[in-house]
Symmetry: C2
Subunit: 200 residues, 2 copies
């Protein structure tokens, strides 16, 4: 079964691809608004991981709406979930796309779609949706990632990652400056995958 | 990482084993109260699938408590979940068991532990818990099972399966007869795995 995995170049989406690889025909898809070279960054990681990759450009209106949400809310959750849902809708609008996957873990809170949101997306867009890490906790994911991936980790402002947050941060930087980013986004660690480790 | 998968010989636990096989050292574990030859039945399937297998005998008190629950409730959900939780506790009490998995899917309702129940089990019993199919819906699981497994399917009263329900049904048969089983358990299809299909 051919599956398109939403791919940021981070640990979770990379590991999702590895876990699905023996059973699915994988393509990695990185969404970008064209504000930062997200797509190119992820393409490099995808090549290291030896998966086919493509960049999916999303409409700027989606980023503008997400911007409105984060400014109104004062926190990123709803804005990021909104981009995630619109990314899935955009990807599912391609007739060859029948199955979409993402790297959300059991403990993730953003971006996460509820089971009823997933069912609605599957029914409405005529696709199947898979979250291969949804039954894995953070610790197990870390153990697997450590074993199968070479990773660099660091604070989100300095570690390059092609996720939705990255371009939303950039837009806020352009319009409000650095301080506003620190106000809106909680500090956290990002992971950026470099390549596979040899399997034992 | 060595993982013990709770194994009924059905489609979901068999597929869980296949999905985890490339990344984990798998053993299949079938729980039994000794009321039916559950363990032997599952051992045969495990052998066909080429996984190590063992039978874990559970204390009869657990079945008695589950019996009380189903008679009081008039439906099996809480009784089955109770056996599931006690099975995990029993398995986790072996010091060599560090990681336990089961075959629950995204759409399953019984037996399913909530995220907070899973966290409590992990903290209390010092294990990691994995549900490799938790991010897969029924349709995707069916497609994968159809591709990788030879299966027989039929009504639950005539299809042999080594799950918790089987022995609880048997106890009710012994004490109340066939009609009571039909009253307490909704009719549904069971799957019994015969062997692997050749991978493409």
């Amino acid at each position: 079964m051919k599956t398109s995995i939403l791919f940021s170049g981070g640990k979770d989406s990379s590991l999702s691809a590895l876990l699905m690889e023996p059973f699915f025909e994988i393509e990695l898809v990185t969404c970008s608004f064209g504000l930062l070279p997200n797509g190119e960054l992820a393409a490099k990681t995808a090549k290291e991981l030896q998966f086919p990759h493509r960049i999916l450009f999303l409409k700027k209106e989606i980023l503008e709406m997400a911007y409105k949400k984060i400014i109104k809310d004062g926190f990123p959750k709803n804005a990021i979930n909104y981009i995630h849902e619109k990314a899935i809708e955009t990807l599912a609008s391609y007739p060859e796309v029948k199955c979409i996957a993402d790297g959300t873990r059991r403990d993730d809170r953003v971006p996460v779609l509820s089971i009823s949101q997933l069912r609605s997306i599957e029914d409405r867009l005529k696709i199947q949706y898979i979250c291969p890490l949804r039954g894995y906790n953070r610790k197990t994911v870390s153990i697997l990632a450590e074993r199968y991936l070479r990773i660099e980790e660091g604070p989100s402002e300095s570690t390059p990652k092609a996720d939705y947050e990255n371009e939303l941060r950039e837009l806020i930087r352009q319009r409000h400056g650095e301080d506003k980013i620190r106000e809106l986004f909680p500090a956290h660690l990002q992971s950026h995958v470099l390549s596979r480790k040899g399997q034992q």
